[in-house]
Amino acid sequence: MRMARFGLGSALVLIATLGGCAAVPPWERGTLAKPVMSVDPPTQEQQQKLRTYGAKEGGAAATGVGGGGCGCN
């Protein structure tokens, strides 16, 4: 009885969360293709952020490119 109740509880939670999913019909997927929906920020903004980050870190290629950090490359 207790197990049945636990199983039922889990199923309820699972289905309640599934309700948050929406089926987007193929012809409305243009909305998902808009620039604001992209995972990465716009290229220009990203470049500016990298530049600031590089300056703060005090070295060329502070973001992990080979030879960065000490300024000796």
């Binding site: 049945a4 109740r5 509880g9 309820l12 599934l18 309700g19 999913c21 089926a23 193929p26 243009g30």
Partner: protein, 169 residues
């Protein structure tokens, strides 16, 4: 909370969970009614107006990458087969006419373009993907369905169209 009530709740919730979209209109079925205004004018076009012609009905959008390849192909078809009774109707499912116009400026079309911002036509055909195209014969029956557009589809589409155009009906 009794167990019985829980089951009722479970079934109730299951009913809310979105169900997958039904399968597309298939080959052999009658083409559903569909009307939309022409992109470059207010005149409404009905699919039924083209009864007696073989219709190549294509659903496209400005954000759809394979559509860029299908447009030159459809221009070719229009050039080759229009004389034999082919009518190409390309339905844009873009939300605004501007988006569609921008696409067409880069990928010009020599065939009929209609704009269905509400998505009534794609809903009626229950599209499974973008782009989708339907070959509809002279009696208004769907004879072939193509989901997506690959280079290898060209020969198949051309063959089907030629066969239906020559096969009377």
């Amino acid at each position: 909370m009794t167990l019985r009530f829980s089951w009722a709740a479970l079934i109730g919730l299951a009913a809310i969970v979105p169900t997958p979209v039904a399968w597309s209109v298939a080959s052999g079925e009658a083409a559903p009614a569909c009307s939309a205004p022409l992109l470059d004018g207010g005149r409404t076009t009905n699919l039924a107006d083209y009864r007696g012609k073989v219709v190549y009905l294509d659903f496209w959008a400005s954000w759809c990458a394979p559509c860029r390849e299908s447009f030159p192909f459809m221009n070719e078809l229009q050039g080759e087969l229009a004389d034999t009774g082919l009518q190409i109707v390309a339905v844009s499912v873009d939300k605004t006419a501007d988006e569609a116009q921008r696409f067409l400026a880069r990928y010009p079309a020599k065939f009929t373009i209609v704009l269905d911002t509400k998505g009534a036509c794609p809903a009626a055909f229950r599209l499974e993907g973008m782009p989708s195209s339907y070959i509809i014969d002279r009696t208004g029956a769907v004879r072939a369905v193509h989901v997506g557009f690959r280079g290898s589809d060209r020969a198949e589409i051309r063959r089907q169209l030629t066969e239906i155009l020559n096969g009377g009906k």
